[in-house]
C-alpha cells in the first residue's frame, strides 16, 4: 500500500475523529467522576459534550458535510433531528406534566 495524499487525508479524518471522541468522552466522565460542578450543571455539561461528540462522529466517521454531494443526506439528518426534537421534547413535556399532576 503506497501512501497517496488522499489516503493520508482519509486516514487523518478518522484519526482526528477518534482522538476528539476519546477526549470528549474523557471530559464527560471526568466531570462526573470528580464532581466538578453541582449535579444539574454536570448533567448540562455532559449533554453539551454529547451533542458535540455526535457532530464529530457525523463529520469524521459518517462524512456528512456541507458539500453539494452530501446535501440530501444532510437534509435528511436535519429533518430527522427536527422530528426527534418534536417527539422527545413533546413526550417529556406531556408525560412529566402528567406525572407532576399525579403527585
Amino acid at each position: 500500500m503506497n501512501i497517496s495524499p488522499s489516503l493520508r487525508r482519509d486516514f487523518l479524518t478518522y484519526a482526528l475523529g477518534y482522538g476528539l471522541a476519546i477526549v470528549l468522552t474523557g471530559i464527560s466522565f471526568a466531570f462526573v467522576f470528580y464532581r466538578l460542578l453541582v449535579p444539574q450543571a454536570v448533567f448540562g455539561v455532559v449533554l453539551f459534550l454529547a451533542v458535540i461528540q455526535i457532530v464529530v462522529h457525523m463529520r469524521c466517521f459518517l462524512h456528512i458535510s456541507l458539500k453539494q454531494s452530501a446535501r440530501s443526506d444532510l437534509q435528511l439528518i436535519l429533518f430527522s433531528t427536527l422530528i426527534i426534537i418534536l417527539m422527545v421534547g413533546g413526550t417529556l413535556i406531556v408525560v412529566l406534566d402528567q406525572n407532576a399532576r399525579m403527585m
Binding site: 477518534y18 471522541a21 468522552t25 462522529h57 458539500k67 422527545v88
Partner: protein
Amino acid sequence: MAGVTEPELRHAGLNLSDDPREVREHVESDVFGFWVFLMSDAVMFACLFAVYATVRHATAGGPTAADEFKFHSAIWETGLLLTSSFTYGMVSISMKHTRGRLWIAAFIVVTFCVGAGFLKMEAHDFVTMFHDGATPERSGYFSCFFVLVGMHGFHVFSGLVWMILMGIQLAVFGPDERTKVNLIRLGLFWHFLDVIWVVIFSVVYLQGLIR
C-alpha cells in the same frame, strides 16, 4: 481511469473512486436508502430515550441506577466501541485505496473482535445486575433500562453477524460492487451505533452516576 484526481463525493461516506458512473449512481441510491433506514432507527431510539427519561424515578422501591452502574465498565465499553468505529474506518479506507481483499478482511476481523469484546462486557454487566436483583421484572425503570441498552446491544450483535456474512462474501466474491455497497452500509450502521452509544453513556450511565 480518468477520474483519479479528485474522487467526486456522490454520496456521504467514503466513495469508491474507480467505479464507472452508472454503478456509482446505483451505489448512491443504495446508500441513501440505508441512510433513510438509519434515521428511522434513530427515531425509534429517540422514543426509547424519551420513555427512559419519564421512568427514571420509577424504581418502585428496588435498586436504583446509582446502585447498579459501574463507572469503570462504562468507560471501558465506551472505549471499545469507539475503537471499533475507528478500525471500521480502516476497513473503508482499505476498500477505497487498495484492490486486494486482504487489508479489508484484516480490519473486519479486528473490528469484529473489539465489537465482540464490547458485547461480552455488556453481558457481564447485565449478569451482575441480575444477581443484585436489578432485573427487568423488578421495576418500570429497569424494564426500560434493559430494553433501551439491550436494543443497542442487539444492534451491535446484528452488526457482528453482518460482519461474519460480509467476511464470507468477501472470500467468495472478492470486493465486487455489491460487496462494496454492503460494506459501506455496514460502516454507516456501525458508526451510527456509536452515535447511539454516545447518547446512552451520557443520558443513562453518566446521569445515573451523577451525585
